[in-house]
């Protein structure tokens, strides 16, 4: 909220003026109201590995994160460029592999990568789209400095929080939105449905039938799955609702089986099809991948997109962007040491206390080391893990992440944040909802914003021009 000095940054000016005149007690009350509202609505997520499979709330902070229209334009241009490159990369890597031939990305990094799906080689996804939905994780380190932290090209979650956070703010502080003009986010579900429908497969007849595939009510993101299906007005299906009928994937309805054209799946590649991938999977649909290959269904995102947001490949993203767009990347990549390379590993081992070390295939903030925040013992334990399996890790410097104040019992207090804007891709184009999900580390000084690690969220405002 504050600039390099103690002055309030321009996009926050109107909000700060409003806040200064607010009664602190009222804000505390609103804060408690918000929590009750989330619980009542069932906006919860399940935490793995906890007894009772209890549903937890993601802490919500009432102070919005504000971006100016100018900042947003810059950001969204950069994201669009990156998403375009990712789709071109995916097409290439599953067809002629020009980028490997050109030597810009090492062959073994793709060939030996568990996220690379050989079954996708030569497959043409309907409309040529691989990543229908992307959630790019961005961090900010200075006025004009935005870094891409992760590309999340598999099944990014969190968009329901973006929408519900705004709803909650509108309910709690209607007068604020009358004073400050904020760009809308509520059209997202409609756009999502349109974008998915625009990717209908060749065998689709008539109006495309869209459905959301969920692992079920015990999945940590079930709320989001049902929310999106409901908001789009499409069925929410599980694997056992589906089977292959006449070469199509069909859902069991009260009146018989109905073919699905576009399946927005919220389960991982591995679980998608026990016949083609993990034979143990109870979540997927046996044979769906064969229907996919024959043009009978669109799977969003396409199987095999994980190779593009793989942490081992991350450090090559600037090359990838340049290779396919012919332009310099507009957004920065965080400098990354590849522990698979001997000299880089040596550097990492020497500087563990300063670095963030991540598993190449990890997600959700599990299994990572945040050097500056870790104890001597934790660092030593991690060092052993790292040496034992070096190629499983990458390391990055801890960036001086921007902070945004949260509302605590003692008043405003700065906390580190990141930002996940949501991107929709279809043959009709790329659209990015202004704003996105701001995740915030609720503990002072912490850099870990993941909700599975106790991180919270904020409403994200992009101001009108």
């Amino acid at each position: 909220m504050l600039g390099s000095g103690e002055d309030v940054r321009q996009p926050y000016q109107d909000y700060k003026n409003w806040l200064d005149r607010e009664d602190v007690k009222r804000l505390h009350r609103k804060s408690a109201d918000a929590e009750a509202f989330f619980r009542k609505t069932g906006i919860t997520f399940n935490v793995y590995g906890q007894d009772e499979a209890d549903e937890r709330l993601i802490p919500f902070d009432v102070v919005p994160r504000v971006l100016s229209a100018r900042e947003w334009r810059k950001l969204s241009k950069g994201i669009e460029q990156r998403v375009r490159a990712i789709n071109a990369f995916l097409y290439d890597i599953y067809h002629r592999q020009e980028i490997l031939r050109a030597g810009r990305v090492p062959v073994e990094l793709v060939a030996n990568n568990a996220a690379f799906l050989p079954q996708m080689i030569g497959v043409n996804p309907p409309g040529g789209i691989y990543t229908h939905i992307i959630g790019t994780d961005i961090v900010r380190t200075g006025d004009e400095e935005f870094y891409v932290l992760e590309d999340n090209a598999r099944t990014p979650s969190g968009v329901s929080y973006m929408l519900e956070n705004r709803e909650t703010m509108l309910q709690m502080f209607p007068e604020l939105f009358a004073k400050i003009k904020v760009q809308e986010v509520s059209h997202y579900p409609g756009q999502l449905r349109r974008s998915l429908a625009a990717c209908a497969p060749p065998r689709c007849e008539g109006k495309p039938v869209v459905a959301v595939l969920t692992p079920g009510i015990h999945n940590s993101a079930y709320f989001e799955h049902s929310f999106l299906a409901d908001q789009m007005g499409v069925e929410l299906v599980e694997g056992h609702d589906l089977k292959i009928v006449d070469g199509r994937v069909a859902m069991r309805t009260t009146e018989g089986y109905t073919a699905i054209d576009v399946l927005y799946r919220r389960i991982d590649d591995d679980y998608l099809d026990p016949l083609n991938f993990d034979p143990q999977s109870m979540l997927g649909v046996p044979g769906i991948f064969d229907v996919y290959r024959a043009g009978g269904i669109t799977i969003a995102n396409a199987p095999g997109t994980g190779i593009s947001d793989d942490k081992a490949l991350y450090s090559y993203m600037p090359d990838i962007v340049e290779f396919y767009t012919g332009e310099k990347p507009l957004l920065e990549n965080v400098p990354t040491w590849r522990c698979s390379e001997k000299d880089q590993l040596a550097y990492v081992l020497e500087h563990l206390e300063e670095l963030v070390v991540k598993e190449v295939h990890g997600s959700g903030g599990y299994g990572m080391l945040v050097g500056p925040a870790a104890s001597k013992k934790e660092v030593a334990a991690f060092r052993a893990k790292l040496i034992a399996n070096a190629s499983n890790y990458i390391a990055q410097p801890t960036l001086a992440l921007s902070t945004v104040p949260i509302f605590t019992k003692k008043g405003l207090s700065p906390r580190h944040v990141d930002l996940r804007p949501f991107v929709l891709v279809s043959p009709e184009g790329i659209s990015i909802t202004p704003g996105g999900l701001t995740r915030v580390a609720m503990t002072k000084g912490s850099l870990v914003v993941n909700s599975s690690q106790g991180g919270g969220t904020k409403d994200t405002w992009v101001l009108e021009e």
Binding site: R39, K40, T41, G42, G216, I217, Y222, S226, A229, D230, E235, L236, V237, E238, H240, D241, K243, M251, R252, T253, T254, E255, G256
Partner: protein, 316 residues
């Protein structure tokens, strides 16, 4: 609509109805325990029988002490049919069918679950029991109100209603059955009024003691009570009333889907063959036999609905 969604709606309302019926049973039992302590054990045992959990209870307890029975029925983890366990199932079904429910119905169900969970986090003391049972009824009323007030009258609504009335018919039949031996000896005394507190508990268990008095005055006879609970067209918990609603909803579904379902026929048969006879004929046939026939037919209809509307994947 997905078969699974229809199933979840059907079961959600069955479970909610069951929660409410349990509260009524406990309320009636508790009242007897308070006012006629001598017959309390019998009363609790028949409540447990009507709830179908008497074996599970006996496996754990040797006597029918009120506090034990109440805790078992309300919240015991060893009782898969406890109010809390069934409420959790109702809420899970609602979550599964979330996209077919209005926000009001979902929130009412979710809030009911949260409220009851908090109210029953610890064993409910006897002095707090009336309040807790009142809360259960109140929460059920909220969900029902939200359902009637906000749901589109589509197939989803029909499945909700079918679940409620099938469960309710089953519950009324069961409470009659555990008390049938009380009704039997009175057949010979048709017309005579008896002062038996048991009549009142039967009526209380279905919240009908006041409406019955409005209709019949103080003339409580076995036949009048049975007639009221089985055949009365206006009594919302009578078998006949439940079946007129079940038939209506199956008719709507058939019309909506442009078909003639086997369940529609079956409901019609139950109305004509079982329920369409005077109470004298029922007593002559044997009340217990009549109720058994009915419960079996009612279960059969539930299974047929499951088949007709693809609640589950059928092999082949």
């Amino acid at each position: 609509m997905l078969g699974k969604t229809a199933a979840s709606l059907f079961w959600m309302s069955r479970y909610l109805e069951r929660v409410e019926n349990s509260a009524r049973f406990i309320e009636a039992g508790f009242r007897i325990a308070l006012t006629r302590s001598a017959s309390a054990s019998d009363e609790w045992s028949s409540v447990l029988k009507a709830s179908g959990v008497v074996d599970a209870y006996r496996a754990k307890h040797d006597d029918f002490e009120s506090a034990k029975v109440i805790d078992f029925l309300l919240r015991d983890r060893d009782n898969a049919s406890s109010v809390m366990a069934v409420m959790k199932k109702a809420r899970d079904s609602a979550r599964t069918a979330r996209t077919a429910l209005t926000r009001e119905v979902w929130e009412a169900t979710n809030e009911s679950w949260m409220t009851l969970k908090a109210a029953m986090a610890k064993p409910v003391k006897e002095q707090d029991l009336p309040e807790t049972l009142g809360l259960i009824r109140q929460q059920s009323a909220l969900v029902r109100g939200a359902t009637l007030g906000t749901m589109l009258r589509n197939d989803g609504f029909n499945f909700l209603r079918l679940g409620s009335f099938l469960e309710r018919a089953d519950s009324t039949a069961r409470i009659l059955d555990v008390k049938y031996y009380l009704l039997l000896p009175s057949v010979a005394l048709i017309g005579s009024s008896v002062d038996n507190v048991q009549w009142e508990t039967i009526l209380r268990s279905v919240s009908a003691h006041r409406s019955f008095r409005w209709l019949n005055g103080t003339d409580i006879s076995a036949q009048a009570v049975a007639d009221y609970l089985i055949l009365h067209r206006q009594m919302p918990r009578s078998l006949t009333f439940c079946y007129s609603k079940i038939s209506d909803n199956l008719n709507y579904l058939d019309k909506n889907y442009g078909q003639k379902s086997r369940s529609g026929e079956l409901a019609h048969e139950i109305c004509n063959d079982i329920l369409n006879q005077p109470i004298e004929a029922i007593f002559e046939y044997g009340l217990h036999e009549f109720i058994l026939d009915f419960i079996i037919a009612n279960n059969g209809l539930a299974a047929q609905i499951e088949t007709d509307f693809n609640f589950q994947d059928r092999i082949g």
